[in-house]
């Protein structure tokens, strides 16, 4: 039997995405642990992906979802390199506090 199920209007999806993005940004700004900052960045990526998929569904096209694929790949690459850097910094400073890498002052 064919039942048409309706999903909530896209407004709510966009609201969730906005909240996730904001939370991610709060994490980037206010936390000291470098790894948590990276994770907050991943959260922001995620929020953007949600927007893409939402609009792909809205316009009934698949291109938005494909973009999500690219974003995911890029985020993965970014996370890999960023974590490698974190590891490297830790090895020389024995600290992952983001405030300890402020040599570029002034």
């Amino acid at each position: 039997m064919l039942i048409t199920i309706n999903i909530p209007p896209i407004t709510y999806f966009l609201g969730i995405s906005a909240l996730m993005f904001l939370v991610g940004f709060i994490g980037v700004t206010l936390r000291k642990n470098t790894i948590v900052i990276f994770m907050s960045i991943e959260l922001m990526f995620n929020a953007a992906n949600l927007v893409f998929v939402t609009f792909a569904s809205y316009y009934n096209q698949v291109n938005g979802q494909l973009f999500v694929l690219f974003v995911m790949a890029v985020a993965a690459a970014d996370a890999a390199v960023g974590l490698a850097l974190v590891v490297s910094i830790y090895r020389s400073r024995k600290s992952i506090d983001i405030d300890h890498v402020s040599e570029m002052k002034g």
Partner: protein, 657 residues
């Protein structure tokens, strides 16, 4: 007309570019090969170049005699902008041929004289290497002067005008590191150039006005349209031209450079400051006589400036002790005569006196150079007595007439011609001017006639001081005659000064009719016994008075005061000090200008304003960049906050768009 067209009229006309090309070749050869050649060869090449220009001018003379009309020979297009075009073309007409003959003829004689004079001079100043440079400059001068007199438009004339000014500067400062204080010669050259520049400013304004009034610079067009322009415009043009003339021809008020220009070698003084460059002003006035005829006020100005310069300079000449300075002020005075004649409209009288003056003044300068070198030779032979002897100071001479007889005789001929004693050339030319003045303007006549007396007086004062009496110094006792290479041009010039009166004998008037083919309205007064007799009588009186003061008793030692100073007292001091004109100019013009340039513009504006602006811009930038760098705290979180701020701003913009 192009070269081919004039060829059909008379083939000799096509030779006219050679009057420029021959001196130019002389310059090039001297510059390129001069170092390798002997000194005599360099001098000979320069003289040959000048002589060839003279020969070409003779050809042109024969051609023009046959043709009779002015000929414009166009060589090449020079400037073509929109509707305005000026080309480099030569004008062959009676006036320009006369000037070219004078310039190249007297110039060649002076070149030959300079071969010998500079040979001694570079040895006396211990720099033989400078010989070549002298002749390069000399030929350059001939080139520029030929360009000036053969131009067929005002623009090209101005090119020649500037060129002779440049050569004057170069040649006056020839011994640039010598002279009193080590810099006097260079300073004299600079003074000549700057004062000339003031005159050139006048010429430039006049050129602009001419272009504005006529739309072209061609002589033919301008002179045929001259009666049609407004009186105000004609007055402006002619007055500004007059400013340039007073600069170049050393009249009031811009004559101050000429006496200091005597710092140059004597051939320079002879050629440039007696015979040719200073007469360029007279040429300009005569050439523009159509314009001056339209504006009688300007003509009056010209005549009065000429007459006043004549008197003023003659008074100063009486009080000078330097043999060349007397001749310099004499030049100013005689050119005053020419300018006065041109001002009253007697153009042929002006040109006649120009020719005669070229002869006898060049003769006088060259003979003076001969005297100076004779004294230098005498000083060398007598051994330097310890004190530096000024070979040009007349007080160091005396009793030379039987020691350097040839120089004495030619000098005497020159002085007689200068004083206007018949039957030498000077008498006829001056007489023509004075006769014309008598019929035109009694005031000018009185000034000119008084000038006759003064002229004869200072000329013979010089003769008696230099050649008669006892020798006042050891150097004067040991003088010897100059070499033939120097004396032969003297003899030739003396001959010309003697017979030159035939050029425009009073009733025959060959020059007048020759010039009338080019210059319209030449004033020609008939022979007048009264004015002629008065002038001649005053001249003879001047000779007698000079003999009475200077010749009767031989003068004392060099440091005794001039005999006439007792009689004249403070007047003589004024004459000796050139009536303090130089000091006056220095006070009101030179010092404020220096103040402006050095203090005001130099220190205040340049240092404070301009440098201050540049430095302050740099300082401000540095300050702001310092502020900006405080934003770079180095903390990552601050940067993230800044990004958030930017994001919020953009969001707000989009929300409330």
């Amino acid at each position: 007309m192009s070269l081919t067209e004039v060829y059909n009229i008379n083939p000799y006309f096509t030779l006219v570019p050679l009057v420029i090309i021959f001196p130019f070749l002389g310059i090039v050869i001297s510059l390129v090969f001069g170092k390798m050649m002997k000194q005599m060869v360099v001098g000979s090449i320069a003289s040959i170049a000048s002589g060839l220009a003279f020969v070409v001018t003779l050809f042109l003379l024969s051609a023009e005699l046959g043709y009779g009309q002015p000929v414009n020979v166009k060589v090449i297009d020079w400037i073509t902008v929109g509707a305005f075009s000026a080309s480099w073309s030569f004008r062959v007409d009676t006036l320009s041929i006369v000037m070219m003959l004078v310039v190249s003829g007297v110039g060649t004689l002076i070149h030959v004289y300079a071969i010998g004079y500079m040979y001694n001079d570079v040895r006396f100043n211990e720099d033989p290497g400078r010989y070549r440079r002298f002749f390069v400059y000399f030929n350059l001068f001939i080139l520029a002067m030929m360009l000036l007199v053969s131009a067929d438009n005002y623009l090209l004339l101005f090119v020649g005008w500037e060129g002779v000014g440049l050569c004057s500067y170069l040649l006056i400062g020839f011994w640039f590191e010598k002279g009193p204080d080590g810099i006097y010669n260079a300073w004299a050259g600079k003074k000549a150039f700057i004062v000339n520049r003031i005159g050139d400013f006048g010429i430039l304004i006049a050129l602009f006005l001419i272009f504005g009034a006529f739309g072209t610079f061609q002589f033919d067009t301008i002179f045929s349209n001259a009666p049609q322009i407004s009186q105000g415009m004609a007055l402006a043009i002619t007055m500004f031209l007059l400013l340039g003339v007073t600069g170049k021809s050393a009249q009031l008020p811009l004559y101050v450079w000429l006496p200091d220009a005597m710092a140059g070698p004597t051939p320079v003084s002879a050629l440039i400051h007696a015979a040719t460059m200073v007469t360029a002003g007279v040429y300009l006035v005569v050439r523009s006589s159509a314009l001056y005829a339209v504006s009688p006020i300007a003509s009056g100005f010209v005549a009065w400036i000429g007459a006043l310069s004549a008197i003023f300079a003659a008074t100063i000449a009486i009080g000078q002790f330097d043999i060349k300075r007397v001749l310099a002020y004499s030049t100013i005075s005689q050119i005053g005569y020419m300018i006065a004649a041109a001002g009253i409209g007697a153009a042929s009288a002006a040109i006649f006196h120009l020719i005669a003056h070229a002869f006898f003044k060049a003769l006088l300068f060259l003979a003076a150079g001969s005297v100076i070198q004779a004294v230098e030779r005498g000083e060398e032979k007598a051994g330097h007595g310890g004190e530096e002897l000024d070979p040009q100071d007349m007080r160091n001479m005396g009793g030379l007439w039987n020691r350097i007889p040839l120089t004495f005789w030619v000098y005497l001929i020159g002085a007689l011609a200068l004083s206007g004693i018949a039957p030498l050339a000077g008498f006829f030319s001056k007489d023509e001017i004075i006769t014309n003045a008598y019929t035109t303007n009694p005031g000018i006549f009185a000034l000119l006639v008084a000038g006759e007396f003064l002229t004869a007086f200072y000329a013979f004062r010089q003769i008696f001081m230099v050649f008669f009496g006892k020798s006042r110094t050891k150097a004067a006792e040991n003088v010897s005659e100059s070499k033939p290479v120097m004396t032969i041009p003297l003899i030739v010039l003396a001959f010309c000064a003697f017979v030159g009166g035939a050029i425009n004998f009073p009733t025959v008037g060959s020059l007048t009719s020759w010039l009338e083919k080019t210059v319209s309205h030449i004033l020609e007064a008939p022979f007048n016994g009264f004015s002629t007799g008065l002038a001649l009588g005053l001249a003879v009186l001047g000779v007698i008075v000079a003999w009475a003061v200077y010749g009767r008793r031989s003068l004392g030692a060099p440091d005794t005061p001039d005999p006439i100073s007792r009689t004249l007292g403070p007047v003589f001091v004024g004459m000796n000090r050139k009536w303090w004109v130089d000091e006056f100019y220095d006070l009101i013009i030179v010092r404020p200008y220096n103040f402006m340039a050095q203090l005001f513009f130099g220190e205040w504006i340049d240092r404070e304003v301009i440098d201050g602006a540049a430095n302050n811009i740099g300082g401000t930038t540095r300050f702001f960049s310092g502020l900006m760098s405080k934003l770079e705290s180095g903390y990552f979180r601050t940067y993230a906050m800044a990004m958030l701020l930017g994001g919020v701003i953009i969001l707000v913009y989009f929300v409330f768009r």
